[in-house]
Each structure stands twice: as structure tokens, then as C-alpha cells.
Point group: C2
Chain length 328, copies 2
């Protein structure tokens, strides 16, 4: 790849200024301005992606942009907040390619529009290392109503959106796992796409804010993330794994190798929302989510104590040897 | 260096949770919460430091922490805002050293306390590349009063805080420049320390907010940054370089090699504030800054037009061949 002749200012003007939102001053100032919505708190989160660690070097620019923004949007909406915008830091290796970056910028622009999260500012620098993308996303939530990990209470229902495990199986496929080669092309596509493209549950952010007692997005695996939520709430839970929804593609993988079911429940990158709710709120939650085509499955109940959660299925208790996925 | 056995969660719990502020939930949640001060806008900025690019690999952890936080605080206060907190993203190479990171965390903790900018959240990840530190700082300013680059008007005074050029000369020394070897040890220390440790002008942030029409921090050189400010305001200026304050250490360097004066005015890392003010505000600005021991020098006047600013000194017009320093 030829070294691009653009300076930092030219690069910003060409690729990022056109998508910059109100309060960004066209990326020509040193800081962005946000006027917080009246009576709201701001919610902030930051997540970085490193080439070769969090995505593949051959991934398309737009796909990497989507992933970088969406993992942050997912954290915002799982807290019951709606996005206001984001800041982008790009550390570019010297062989950065203008066509790739143009695709990255276009993917980012489309997503920023879709999630109504305009680019507010950022920083661009060189690195002798791999491409590193760091995004800080800002959201807003009615004052005092951010949904924390720590609000689960004994007797509350444990529920999770959508399907679990596809992304972890998709990553296995991307790594060339031979066993999964037996899957149909259609099933492979479902799993790989799910790994490539997180779909933050923004459509139910407001319902989560109104109805959930605790919530977080499932990024490091259902088992590990639920354990963290319960620990923060100083409670535990009984969880029926048969109640967790899985896709036909994932179930085909379990048929090929039953051990992959463990991976599905402990692998990362689902970007669903795991939550607890007062029992009376479950129906409203399921209805609100159902209206936008999102399933919310009741998978267990919050119980007293600080032991690890008790997982079971039709054949009895289930133990996980590696309860959480860590990118670190 | 031995590979540290700490997991990401242990690392966060050991080094960063102890300094985390209100709204960070002890770094145990997925997002931070800020309740914006009533009637205020929020100001956001982000700046990354890459080992080997923005700091030396042999720099102490605390020094790197100070630099990483202060370059962001400098952007906040130059906009007339006061810091509320920050988010930290650390991409750590596999050979990270626990003693270094402990020193980094301690330096960060002291600075967060000094600038009343608590750690609110962050992300920690591995990288096959160099240590990369990305900080997003958040500040607040009375609604509508963020001081932008674009507010300079014809007839306004151009002023700059403190002294200019020390840091660029300090960087030359750090790189082993032979000519500067002739400086006294005391002068070398002044210059190297100025490069190592930015001192954001937080003491006058409120005065800048009340009195300046436009402002920015001087991070990429006085000449280049002033040019950017004037361009954003669609004006130009006449600037008397003899009115720019320099330290005795810098003037000793100019005596050794007169060409270094150009470097002083175009090199980076000063972290002073360049501003424009209605003429009637200059006296109040100088008095407010004087009370906290900061000089504010009148160095020129904003004039009509969009030409490059006209720099001069006692011997006539001065042209710069390389008007700005770019880290990129």
C-alpha cells in the first residue's frame, strides 16, 4: 500500500469533517460542546479495538467502523440511555491506505446517522504499531435513571434479549475451525455475520430504562457477564440454560460438537442485553420489545446469597470451566 | 520485564479503582454517569499518546501519566471550562511492567486530585504494538460560554500566557542535540522539564471564559496554532515576536544558535493559552492572571483579511518556513 500523502488536517477535512455533528465545530476546534438535555444525566463509555486483536487485518474498513462504534453504542443503550454522539481516536500505522480509510469513514457515517450519534471530535496520530481505534460514546438518560449492574433484587426475573452464542461460533469459523466446516453455507453466513456486525438493542433502550432493575450488554459471554451483574448486586441466581434462545445455525453447531454449547454461553460478542426486572415488569418488557421484533426470554430468578449462579438444563446442573471470555 | 500475571479485572481493581471518582461506580459498571452542573454545557476532548511517538520508552510511568492527562486538561481550560473528569483507554504491550504501571497510576491519581478531574471509566486491552494511552476529558462551562477558536474580531488584542519555546528546545535536548550541549546544566534542566511536564493554565480558565473572545492551547507551536485560530475566525493579525516572553534558558539557546528562535515559535508542547480579547478586557485578564502568578503578554492585534498573520520583530518582517509542528 502506498503511503498516503495526506496530512492530519487534510485527512480530517476529507474523511471526518463531513460527518461531524452539531457541537463539533466541523472538527476545527480543540474540543466539542454538548448541551445536556434538561433533566438528564450523561452516560459515558469507551472501548478500543486493536487490529489483529479485536478484528482481522483483512476486515473491510466499513465493517471495522461499524464494530468500533456499535460496541460503544451497545454499552450506552444497555444502561437505558440514548446516544448523543461520540469521539474517535485513530492511531494509524504508516502504511494506512486511503481506500480503506474512505470505506471506514463511510461505514462510520452511515452508522452515526442510523444511531443518531454524530461524530463530535477526536484525535488522529501515527503509530509504529497496529491500527488502533478508540471510541468514547456519550448518551443521555433521565436524571437518576441510568440502569446499573447493581440493581438486581432477590425475586427479580433474569431475562436476556435475542439469541446467544452465534458470534462466538462465528469467530471460531473466522479462525478456520475445521469441525464447523460441516455446517451449511447458510448457517456459516449467519454465524460469521453475527460476529462481524454487532446489533446494539437501541430500539428497547427506553424500555430498559423504565422497566429493568439492572442491565448490561453481553460482550464477554452470557455466563461471565451475568455473574458480574449479580456480583455487583450482591445476589445470585438460578438460570435455566434451556430457556436461552439460540439460532438454528448455533444448534446445528451443537449437533456437530455438543461441547460448543459451552462456548456459546461463555464466548463473547453477543451484544444482547442481560437484565433483571421486578416480576410485574416482565410482561411490559416483552411487549415493548416484541413490538420492535426483539425477543426477551425469561431465563431465571434472582436468589439470595453470593455464591456463583446455579446454571442448569433438563439434564441437571451445568458447570463452566472457563466462565468468561476476556479480550485482554 | 516479566510478564505480569494480573488479569484485566485485577489490574483495574489494583491500580485504577482506588482513584475512581463519583459516577464511576468504582469502575465496576459498563459506563460512567455525569450529572451536568445546572445551566452548563459540557466540553469534551480526546488526545492519545503513543510510546516512541509522543513520549520516550524510558520515561517514568508517573511522567507519562502526567503528560497524558495534562494535554487533555489543557484543551479543556483553554476553552474556558473546568474539568469534571476523564476516561482512560490503555492498550498495553505484552511485556508491561507492574512497577511502571504502578508509578503511572500513582502519577495519574495525584494529577486527577490536583486538577479535580476524577477517573470516571475506561478500557484496558492488549496490543502487539507500543503502549498507547488515550484519554477523553470532560469539562463544564456556563451554557453558551465555551471559548471557541472562531470568536476573534478585528481590533481585538492578541495575547499569550507564560513563556514560549522551552518545550521544543527541551525535546531537542532529549534527542541529544549536540549544539545545545553548551547550555548550563540549570538551563538544560529548565528546558527538559518544560518538555516533560505540561502545566495547563487551569488557574485562569474562568478568566478566559469571562474575558477572551477566542482561545486555544499552544500545543503545535505558537505560529501554527495562532494561524489556525485566526483562520477559524476569518481574520488575520500583526504579531510582534519581540513581545513574546521567553525564558533565560531559551534565550541562552538563541545565543548559541540564532536559528533556534524560529524553532521556539514553531515547535510544540508549550501548553500556554493563545487568546484574543476585546481591548477593554486586557487589563482585567492581566490582573486576574497576575494574581495567580501567570504573565499574559500582549503580542499583537487582530486585523482584517484572510492572509497569513504578519510576524515582525525589531529587525523587520519574519517568515517561518515550517509554521507548525505536527505529531502526526
Amino acid at each position: 500500500m502506498p503511503r498516503s500523502p495526506l496530512t492530519e488536517d487534510e485527512l480530517i477535512a476529507k474523511f471526518f469533517a463531513p460527518m461531524a455533528g452539531e457541537g463539533s465545530f466541523g472538527l476545527t476546534d480543540d474540543a466539542a460542546k454538548i448541551t445536556p438535555p434538561y433533566g438528564h444525566d450523561l452516560v459515558l463509555t469507551t472501548d478500543a479495538l486493536v487490529a489483529g486483536v479485536h478484528f482481522f487485518l483483512e476486515d473491510a474498513g466499513a465493517a471495522v467502523a461499524r464494530k468500533a462504534l456499535r460496541v460503544n453504542i451497545s454499552d450506552i443503550v444497555a444502561k437505558g440511555a440514548l446516544p448523543l454522539g461520540f469521539l474517535l481516536t485513530l492511531a494509524l500505522p504508516s502504511d494506512w491506505d486511503e481506500a480503506w480509510l474512505s470505506d471506514f469513514a463511510e461505514g462510520l457515517r452511515r452508522d452515526a446517522e442510523y444511531y443518531r450519534a454524530p461524530l463530535l471530535g477526536g484525535d488522529t496520530t501515527r503509530t509504529p504499531g497496529p491500527l488502533t481505534i478508540s471510541i468514547t460514546a456519550i448518551g443521555s438518560v433521565p436524571a437518576g435513571r441510568m440502569v446499573k449492574r447493581s440493581g438486581a433484587r432477590v425475586g427479580h426475573v433474569v431475562a436476556v434479549t435475542g439469541t446467544i452464542g452465534d458470534a462466538a461460533l462465528g469467530l471460531l469459523l473466522r479462525r478456520g475451525n475445521a469441525t464447523l466446516g460441516a455446517l451449511s453455507d447458510q448457517h456459516k453466513k449467519v454465524l460469521i455475520d453475527r460476529y462481524a456486525t454487532p446489533r446494539p438493542r437501541i430500539e428497547i433502550a427506553t424500555a430498559v430504562q423504565r422497566l429493568a432493575s439492572a442491565a448490561m450488554d453481553v460482550s464477554d459471554g452470557l455466563v461471565g457477564d451475568l455473574t458480574k451483574l449479580l456480583r455487583a448486586s450482591v445476589v445470585t441466581a438460578k438460570i435455566d440454560l434451556d430457556a436461552v434462545l439460540t439460532t438454528e445455525a448455533a444448534r446445528s453447531a451443537f449437533t456437530i460438537d455438543p461441547k460448543l454449547r459451552d462456548l456459546a454461553f461463555t464466548g463473547g460478542d453477543d451484544y444482547e442485553i442481560i437484565m433483571t426486572l421486578p416480576p410485574d415488569n416482565l410482561h411490559d418488557m416483552q411487549r415493548a420489545a416484541g413490538e420492535v421484533g426483539i425477543a426477551v426470554s425469561r431465563i431465571g430468578t434472582v436468589t439470595k446469597g453470593t455464591a456463583e449462579p446455579a446454571f442448569f438444563d433438563r439434564s441437571g446442573p451445568v458447570r463452566f470451566t472457563r466462565p468468561s471470555f476476556q479480550h485482554f
